[in-house]
C-alpha cells in the first residue's frame, strides 16, 4: 500500500477508478440496449440497412375512393418519417445471407391468366381440370384469375382448390343471356380486379377450350407492352384449320391472318380476332401514363376489354409478334367441340 502516503493522489486515483467503473457501467448499460434479436430475421434486416437508399418516387395517387379518403387525411409528417424509415429498415435484399440461393434464382415476370367460365358449359369442369394440369407446369410466378357467375354450385371452387396453381376465384352477380357478352363481362371483372390491385404482369385471356404448348408461357413473358401471336382454331369433324393472328417480319407485326369475310357482316363485328391472341402488360390498365397514354378514366370501369383492343391497334410500335422469329410458330390451339350429349 505504498500509495497511502499521498492522500491527494489516492483520492485522485479513486476518482479515476470510479470514473472508469462508471464509464464501464454505462457502456454495459447501453450495450444492453442494443436491439435484442428476438427473431431470426430482424437482425439480418438491421445489418443490411447500411446500404444507401434508392431515391424513391413519391406515393402515387390512387383512384380508389377509400384510399382517396385516406389520402385526404394523410399526415405529411408521417410521409417524411416513412421515407426516413426506409433508410432505417428497408433491407437490400441482395445482401441477405443466402446469396448463393439468390444467384440461381431467375426473376420471371408474372403471368396473369384470365379464364372466364360459364355454368352453361357442360365441359367446364373437365376443361378446368385440364387447364389446371397445364398451368401447374408453368414456372412461377403465375396468377390464374378464374371468373364465374355467382351460384350455389361449388364445382369451380372444388376443382380449383385441387390445383397447386396460385389463383383468384372471382364471382359476379349480373345475369346474361348471351354467352359471348357474358364472357366479355367476365374478362372485364378480371381486369377490374387486376386494376384495383394494381397487379403487374402480362395478361393473357385463356379460354377453357385452349390448349397450350408450354413454351407459350415463356414467350409471353418477353412482352413489354403488347404482344400478339398466331393461334390455330380446330373444330371437330371439320376439315378446315383456321389460323388467326399476326403476320410478322421478325417480331414486327406486318399484317394479320383474318377469318374469311364471306360470313355475314354481323358475325364479323362480333369477334373478328380472338382475344386469346393478344397479351399485354397489365400496368397499362392502372398506370397508363407510364406508357404515354392518357388517363384511363373514360375506359376503365366499364369496358377494359374494349380499351385493350383499341390500345393494341393504336400502339403498333409497342406491339410485338411472338415468338420473336417471325411469329410463325403456333403455340396454342383452340378446340371447338360441338354440344355434348347428356345421358
Amino acid at each position: 500500500m505504498g500509495l497511502t502516503e499521498r492522500p491527494k493522489k489516492k483520492t485522485q486515483l479513486w476518482k479515476k477508478a470510479s470514473v472508469h467503473f462508471l464509464l464501464c457501467f454505462i457502456m454495459g448499460f447501453f450495450t444492453g440496449f442494443a436491439p435484442a434479436n428476438k427473431s431470426y430475421f430482424s437482425t439480418q434486416n438491421v445489418l443490411a440497412s447500411n446500404v444507401p437508399p434508392e431515391i424513391s418516387p413519391p406515393r402515387e395517387e390512387i383512384s380508389d375512393t377509400r384510399v382517396d379518403h385516406e389520402n385526404g387525411n394523410f399526415d405529411r409528417s408521417m410521409l417524411d418519417e416513412t421515407l426516413e424509415m426506409k433508410v432505417q429498415e428497408r433491407p437490400n435484399v441482395g445482401t441477405i445471407d443466402d446469396k448463393g440461393d439468390m444467384a440461381n434464382m431467375t426473376h420471371r415476370r408474372l403471368v396473369i391468366i384470365v379464364t372466364p367460365t360459364s355454368d352453361k358449359d357442360e365441359l367446364r369442369g373437365v376443361l378446368l381440370t385440364k387447364m389446371a394440369n397445364t398451368l401447374s407446369l408453368v414456372p412461377a410466378p403465375l396468377l390464374w384469375v378464374v371468373v364465374e357467375s355467382q351460384s350455389e354450385s361449388t364445382e369451380v371452387s372444388d376443382i380449383l382448390r385441387k390445383t397447386n396453381v396460385m389463383y383468384r376465384h372471382l364471382v359476379f352477380k349480373e345475369n346474361f343471356t348471351d354467352v359471348e357478352v357474358e364472357m366479355d363481362h367476365q374478362r372485364n371483372v378480371a381486369l377490374k380486379h387486376i386494376e384495383y390491385h394494381r397487379l403487374s404482369g402480362i395478361v393473357h385471356f385463356a379460354s377453357l377450350y385452349n390448349v397450350y404448348d408450354l413454351s407459350f408461357f415463356d414467350e409471353i413473358r418477353t412482352i413489354e407492352v403488347f404482344g400478339t401471336w398466331p393461334m390455330a382454331f380446330l373444330s371437330a369433324n371439320r376439315q378446315r384449320v383456321r389460323i388467326e393472328g399476326p403476320v410478322c417480319d421478325s417480331s414486327e407485326v406486318i399484317g394479320w391472318h383474318l377469318k374469311s369475310l364471306n360470313n355475314s357482316a354481323d358475325d364479323a363485328t362480333r369477334s373478328p380476332v380472338h382475344i386469346s391472341t393478344v397479351g399485354f402488360n397489365s400496368s397499362i390498365l392502372w398506370d397508363p401514363e407510364r406508357w404515354g397514354r392518357l388517363s384511363t378514366d373514360q375506359h376503365t370501369s366499364q369496358n377494359s376489354i374494349k380499351f385493350v383492343k383499341e390500345e393494341v391497334l393504336e400502339e403498333d410500335t409497342k406491339l410485338k409478334g411472338i415468338p420473336q422469329d417471325g411469329c410463325s410458330k403456333i403455340m396454342l390451339w383452340n378446340l371447338h367441340i360441338p354440344k355434348v350429349i347428356k345421358g
Binding site: H20, R242, L261, I337, K342
Partner: protein, 527 residues
C-alpha cells in the same frame, strides 16, 4: 427522431470510450509499473471495470425487461392523442388535441394505475406506415414461390400416396390434325406426376418425326417415353380404328411383358382427359381395377358454324343432367356386380361411321381407358400373377385377329375386378373423341411458313369496330385460310405496317411498302 440520434451519439461516444479505456490503463501501467502492488491494483482496477461493465449490462437488461417487455423500442413513432367517441351514434366529439410526441414519453392515459408499469402500446392515433415504393420485390416473389412449393411438396409427402408404384401409360396415337392438341394435353397431365412414369406411345403408321418432336417436350419431368411404331396406318372408319387401337395397346402390353416392366398399367388415349386425383386412386389397385369414365360424346350439327362459340347453349336447358358415365357398378358392400355402359341404342344409325363423320362418335361397350392393372398380369412367368388371370398370349390367340375387346378378357372371373374411385361416385377421367375430318391438313410442326394468304395489313382489320369502313376490295383477301389451298400461297398479300401516319396517308404508303416487301421477298427467294 431526435432522441434516436442522441442515443446513437451517446452510443458512439461509448464506443470512443471503449477505445480510450485501454489507453488509459496503459497510462496507468507506465505510471505505476514499479511496484508489484500496483500491478495488483491494476488487475483489480481492470477487474472492477469489467464487473461494472457487466453490472451495467445486467442493469440495462433489467430496466429493459421492466420497461419494454418485448424486443426493440420504437422511437420512430409519431403519435397523437385524441379523444373521439364513436360507435353506433355518429356524434364524434370535436375535442381533438393533437400532440406530436415520442411514444415512450407519452404513456397512455391511466396507465399509471397499474403499478407504474408503462405499456409500449399507445392509445390514440397512429400513423399509417407506407413504404415509398410499395411494389413486390422480384427476389421475394421468387422466394415466396419457393416456399409455397416446399410446403406443397411436404403436403404430398405427408398426405399423398406413400411409396407410389411406377406407372406404365399406354397410348395409341397417329399423326393427324388433332394430334398435337390431344397429345400435349395428355403429356401435361403426366408431367404433373411426381413419380416414375413409363409412357408407351404406340404410333400407327410407324414412328414419325412429328410425334417424336411432340414427345420430346416431356424432358425435365419424370416421364420416360417409349415410342413404338405400329406398321399399319390408322383406318378412317371408327369401327376399324377401335379395333386397331386395341391391337396397338396389345403391342404395348407385349413391351411390358418382354421388358418385365413393373408397375401399374393404365390405358390413356391421347384424347382422354384426366384429373390428377385419378393417379392417386389407381395406386390402390392390386391386380385389375376399373374406374368410371365420363363420356363426352358430342353431337355435331352440320349447320352449326364450328367457329362460333356456342351462343345460347341449351335453349331447352334440361336440369343439368349429369354426363353419361361408363364404369363399374357395385352392390351395397362395394363389390362389383356389373357395369354401367353408354346407352348407344339412342344413336343407332345416327352414330359416326368414319372419322370426321358429322354424327356422334360412340364409345365401345367398355373402353380400355376404364381399366388399370398390375403389369405382372401380362408377364410371361405365371408365378407372378394369380390363377384367375389368363395368359396374354392365350387370350389373344383365342380371340383371333390379334384383338381383345377390353382387359376384361384377361380375367377368368370378372367379379375379381376391383372397383376404384368409390365405384363410380367419383369421375376422374373423361373420354372424348374429337377429331377433324380425315382429310384435314395442318402446317407441319404447326409452323406457318410462309405465312398464310389470309392476311390484311396491320392497323386495319383486327377490330372492325375501329375500322368499320373496311372495304373488301382494299384487302387482298384471296380465299379462306384452309390448308388445302396451300398451293395458292404464292398469291399471299403482305402489306407492311405503317407507323405514326394518318389513315389517309397510310393507304398510299402501304402500296409503296407493298412493292418493297415484294422485292424483299423475292430477294429472299433467290438466296
Amino acid at each position: 427522431m431526435k432522441q434516436l440520434q442522441s442515443l446513437q451519439q451517446t452510443r458512439g461516444r461509448n464506443n470512443s470510450f471503449r477505445n480510450q479505456s485501454p489507453l488509459d490503463s496503459t497510462a496507468d501501467v507506465t505510471a505505476s509499473v514499479k511496484s508489484p502492488s500496483s500491478i495488483f491494483w491494476l488487475i483489480l482496477h481492470c477487474f472492477s471495470c469489467l464487473i461494472s461493465l457487466i453490472l451495467g449490462f445486467r442493469f440495462s437488461k433489467l430496466v429493459f425487461y421492466l420497461l419494454f417487455s418485448t424486443s426493440s423500442v420504437n422511437y420512430l413513432y409519431t403519435t397523437s392523442t385524441k379523444t373521439t367517441s364513436f360507435g353506433g351514434n355518429d356524434n364524434i366529439a370535436e375535442t381533438m388535441s393533437f400532440t406530436t410526441s415520442l411514444r415512450s414519453l407519452s404513456p397512455p392515459v391511466g396507465a399509471n394505475v397499474s403499478g407504474g408499469v408503462v405499456s409500449r402500446v399507445v392509445v390514440g392515433r397512429h400513423g399509417i406506415r407506407i413504404r415509398p415504393w410499395p411494389h413486390p420485390d422480384p427476389d421475394e416473389v421468387m422466394k415466396a414461390h419457393k416456399l409455397i412449393e416446399a410446403v406443397q411438396r411436404e403436403q404430398k409427402v405427408m398426405y399423398g400416396v406413400k411409396n407410389p408404384r411406377s406407372l406404365i401409360v399406354v397410348t395409341p396415337t397417329y399423326v393427324r390434325t388433332f394430334q398435337a392438341l390431344h397429345l400435349t394435353t395428355l403429356m401435361h397431365t403426366l408431367m404433373n406426376l411426381n413419380y416414375e412414369v413409363v409412357w408407351i406411345v404406340v404410333e400407327a403408321g410407324g414412328v414419325s418425326n412429328a410425334t417424336a418432336a411432340l414427345l420430346e417436350k416431356v424432358e425435365k419431368s419424370k416421364v420416360r417415353v417409349k415410342h413404338v411404331g405400329f406398321e399399319r396406318k390408322m383406318p378412317i372408319f371408327w369401327e376399324a380404328r377401335h379395333k386397331m387401337e386395341s391391337q396397338m395397346r396389345l403391342r404395348a402390353l407385349r413391351v411390358v411383358r418382354e421388358e418385365k416392366l413393373d408397375g401399374i398399367v393404365m390405358f390413356a388415349d391421347d384424347s382422354n382427359m384426366h384429373s390428377l386425383e385419378l393417379f392417386d386412386e389407381i395406386q390402390k389397385v392390386e391386380w385389375i381395377g376399373a374406374v368410371s369414365v365420363g363420356i363426352l360424346a358430342h353431337s355435331s350439327h352440320p349447320d352449326e358454324d364450328p367457329f362460333e362459340v356456342q351462343k345460347n347453349v341449351d335453349e331447352e336447358d334440361e336440369k343439368k343432367s349429369p354426363l353419361p358415365v361408363q364404369g363399374p357398378a357395385c352392390n351395397s358392400s362395394d363389390r362389383l356386380v356389373g357395369w354401367h355402359t353408354f346407352s348407344s341404342i339412342l344413336y343407332k344409325g345416327k352414330s359416326a361411321n368414319y372419322i370426321g363423320d358429322m354424327a356422334v362418335v360412340l364409345p365401345r361397350k367398355l373402353e380400355w381407358s376404364g381399366f388399370v392393372m398390375n403389369s405382372r398380369l401380362v408377364w410371361k412367368e405365371a408365378e407372378f400373377r394369380p390363377e384367375w388371370i389368363n395368359d396374354l398370349d392365350m387370350v389373344v390367340a383365342a380371340g383371333g385377329d390379334d384383338d381383345i375387346g377390353s382387359p376384361l378378357s384377361l380375367v377368368k372371373d370378372s367379379s375379381m375386378v376391383e372397383p376404384l374411385g368409390g365405384c363410380g361416385k367419383k369421375v376422374m377421367m373423361w373420354w372424348l373423341r374429337a377429331e377433324a375430318r380425315a382429310d384435314s391438313k395442318f402446317p407441319s410442326g404447326w409452323t406457318i411458313d410462309p405465312p398464310l394468304e389470309m392476311t390484311v395489313p396491320a392497323k386495319r382489320t383486327p377490330w372492325p369496330d375501329v375500322t368499320p369502313e373496311l372495304p373488301s376490295n382494299t384487302v387482298k383477301v384471296i380465299s379462306s385460310a384452309t390448308q388445302e389451298n396451300t398451293e395458292k400461297r404464292a398469291t399471299k398479300t403482305r402489306t407492311p405496317k405503317s407507323r405514326r401516319s394518318s389513315r389517309g396517308k397510310r393507304k398510299r404508303e402501304s402500296r409503296n411498302a407493298d412493292a418493297r416487301v415484294a422485292a424483299r421477298n423475292s430477294g429472299e427467294k433467290t438466296q
